[in-house]
Amino acid sequence: MTEVTLAPAPGEVVVPGKKWQGQNVPRKEDKRLTQGQGVFVDDVKRHGMGYIHFVRSPYAHAHITSIDVSKAEELKGVYGTMTGEEVASLTDPFFQLSTPPGAYLKDFALAVGKVRYVGEAVVAVVAETRELARDASELVEVEYEPLPAIVDARNAQDGSAPILHEDSGSNLMWEGVYEWGDLDAAFAEADKVVKISELHFHRFNSTPLECDGALVEYNRGTGQWTIHTNNQFPGFAQIMMGPAMRTGLDKLRFVTQDIGGGFGNKITSHPQLVVCCLLARKLNRPVQWTEWRTDFHLSMSHGNERWFHDTEVAVKNDGTLLGFRTKALDDAGALLRYEPLGGVIWAQVTPGVYKWRNIRLEFTQVATNKAPVSPNRGYSRMQHLWFTERVMDIVAKELSLDPVEVRKRNYIKSEDMPYETPNGCVYDSGDYAQMLDVALDLIGWDGMQARRDEARSRGKLFGVGIGSTLDSGTNNFGQSRMINPELQFSGNNEVATVKLDIFGEIVVTLGTTPQGQGHETTAAQVVADILGCSVDDVHVRAGHDSYWNSHAGFSGTYASQFAVTGLSAVKGATDMLAEQIKKLGSVILGGVPEDALELADGTVRIKESPEAALPFMACGAIINANNAGLPEDLDVTLNCRYVYRPPFQVPDVERKFGNLTLTYAAQIHAAVVEIDPETGYYEVVDYAAVDDCGLRIHPQIVEGQVMGATAQALGAAIHEAFEYDEDGNLLTPNFYDYHVPHALDMPPLRTGYIESASPFTPLGTKGMGEGGGAGIHAVCAAIQDATGAVVYDSWNPYQRVWELLNAPKHVVEVVDA
């Protein structure tokens, strides 16, 4: 490939008349959700349904020598079971995204022959009640022959390490080298080289309050499964499930309504959905699976744990950053369920928010005897951006420079937007320095020295930290080819249909699977502005249903894209409908030219004489039920489907170069901490979060996403970790041990925003919601400021801060270039 068109030419943002967009209209979802009238997956019931319970591995690594389900099946009220052997005979292994050696891995919906992490599903039991299914699972006899476990990714490739997947031949799953610019020149130009031997980004996830689940029905006559689920990316689930189940995708009908949080963690439930499908067919009855909290913690969607080794940063004495080299080691856990995509997703934000032009990153992903990783809010970019922010603060500390000044010196500038990064991504718009000023103002930067002194007078260590992140949104799935050039994915899409029904109802269907983002509300705002009606007149169907024919290959709600993909599809469909209404109006109103018509007050009317108006109700009735005599060539259905396709090219796989995401929302956070030097206990005493996601359709919803992401970051920075012991036992399998923030944990928060319209999107919007990583970066920076010790881990519970104060690891060395 020789030529790569990087991005659409930036154009002027043309948005429809904005009566509703930009307003905090009441959310359409709230009326049902505040009354307990939502329909979440466990609320769906069917006559005669069976409850599924999974028997799970107590070992991190073991051969399965025998399975005996006979006692369980004899129990009255037990409908049946399924074992890995059965799954292996009924299905093919899931399609693997990786090149070898990861490509050779054989992954089935239940463990076959071997278990590779504590909590891996081995047998499924179905019974009349939840309790009975659980009882019966206790009667399943599984014999294991335990094997040594590999828990620390750093040792996974040692010669003595136990091999998880014999088919792959080693624990290496995927590796690739990324290099852009001229590293030699950068290091030759440098005054100093800052060397960081090891940084560690820890394992956690967003723990949505609702766990995974499904109710699956099988129709024997048509061979079709109806999968009521809370999977948040049906487009991905279906392409994983169909080939494995040896069935066409038309046989997999996905239905969602309300989903109790997702955060990426509900993308990879396809193995369990396959088991549900097989059991529904085998037992000829609907089956229901609701994951227990402990099962979720043990087995679902841990975030990528990542090490950064042998980092070298080329820097001028004034803090100008010229380039870096590093080796990223990613712990995929036991199976590749979405991986090794994390091996490229980070590259969406290769230089972070900085002007680094020379970068080399060697990426290695290995398997360990821990739960498989999958996308988690900020997927793979959060790890990388934590790294770039750590580098920034470590460089500032080692060169005795002000972290604010170093950032401002190196931030990409607003006048350079759109900005092409060294790897060909195009940052669409933004002003990071201005955002930082807003953040500093919000935390009272000018009075900080007095506060620092006052805290010290109370015996506290005081620190301020900044976290800068990008929330890259609207993936170009062509980036998957950098992982595996054979993959036939590229671009992106989303679908919406908008129709005018027989009594004038405006009905919108989406392909998305919202989990609290308020899609029904924001879609209605866009529709109402175009059709000239009230948001109350717009009926947006809740959730996703394959039967609506309102979905495409990438449909779902993930990766910060609804405000671009979803709402652009809504706009496209509504523009089509508006045009059709005018066409019809032109005919009915006596041949008035369409451009003499306007849509307003729920009518199509003549601009110059608005009393000559045709209500939408009449339009709907004429086309749907009273259409005799209309001109034969009148091409109007009042039922419009639009597929939004972002303007992407296939990236250059050889150079690992191209535009990987369409929009770049940005976040600048600032945290203030006070630490008790005796114990390491600390509190975040002040916090500011500044966001820029382009034009905001519903500012309150945007701010809600900022708040929620911030809270998750604070939890991850201070409390939350999926920790394992050396035998591979998860130490935090429930909310007792895995402490998520409570109401009393939250610091005072101030939020701010700027709006840099995206020149690349139809509504000037950018996808957002995943920028919370900034909180982890900011807390790390604040702890470093307070303790004077280099912070080398993303997880800093009180004992780690004590360690930083009393026995810090030395990971940094500065040498003259």
Binding site: N24, P26, R27, E29, D30, K31, R32, L33, T34, Q35, G36, Q37, G38, V39, F40, D42, D43, K45, T129, R130, E131, S206, T207, P208, L209, E210, C211, D258, I259, G260, G261, F263, T290, W292, R293, T294, Q515, G516, Q517, G518, Q700, I701, E703, G704, Q705, M707, G708, T710, A711, Q712, N734, F735, Y736, V740, P741, H742, A743, L744, M746, L749
Partner: protein, 150 residues
């Protein structure tokens, strides 16, 4: 075992296993699915109900223990489709996103406001401490309760 329980003013009689949890009785047997389950351990509060006037986590109580009790769940808050001030305030302050924790939050806040019509900031936070929300960060929930408390 036979259990008689009055939920939101309606009396129900059911034959339940002694080990059945109150939340499962309400959700599975009475089809009142507004109250939710978010953990196995009593930490999350999504199943919060008011039993005989007292706030409880209904996953921490057996159905048989509720025999003869009066139970209030989220479905009983609004009367004739009219949302309570607290429900309206949650919407106005964007105190819910996915809505999964919301029924439990509303019951905890309702219990608080019945006992203390003008709670302090600290009292509100303490009252919500037993309810986990993963979407909002609690700030807007706090504001929603505070607005009604005034």
């Amino acid at each position: 075992m036979d259990v008689t329980v009055t939920v939101n003013g309606v009396e129900y009689e059911r034959d339940v296993e002694p080990r059945k949890l109150l939340i499962h009785l309400v959700r599975d047997d009475l089809d009142l699915t507004g109250s939710h389950i978010g953990c196995d351990t009593g930490n999350c509060g999504a199943c919060s109900m008011i039993v005989n006037g007292q706030l409880v986590k209904s996953c921490m109580m057996l159905a048989v223990q509720a025999n003869g009790a009066t139970v209030e769940t989220v479905e009983g808050l609004a009367e004739d489709g009219e949302l309570t001030a607290l429900q309206r305030s949650f919407s106005e302050h964007h105190a819910l996103q996915c809505g999964y924790c919301t029924p439990g939050m509303l019951m905890s806040a309702t219990a608080l406001l019945r006992e203390n019509s003008s709670p302090s900031d600290e009292e509100i936070k303490k009252a919500l401490q037993g309810n986990i929300c993963r979407c909002t960060g609690y700030w807007n929930i706090f504001e929603a309760v505070k607005a009604v408390g005034k």
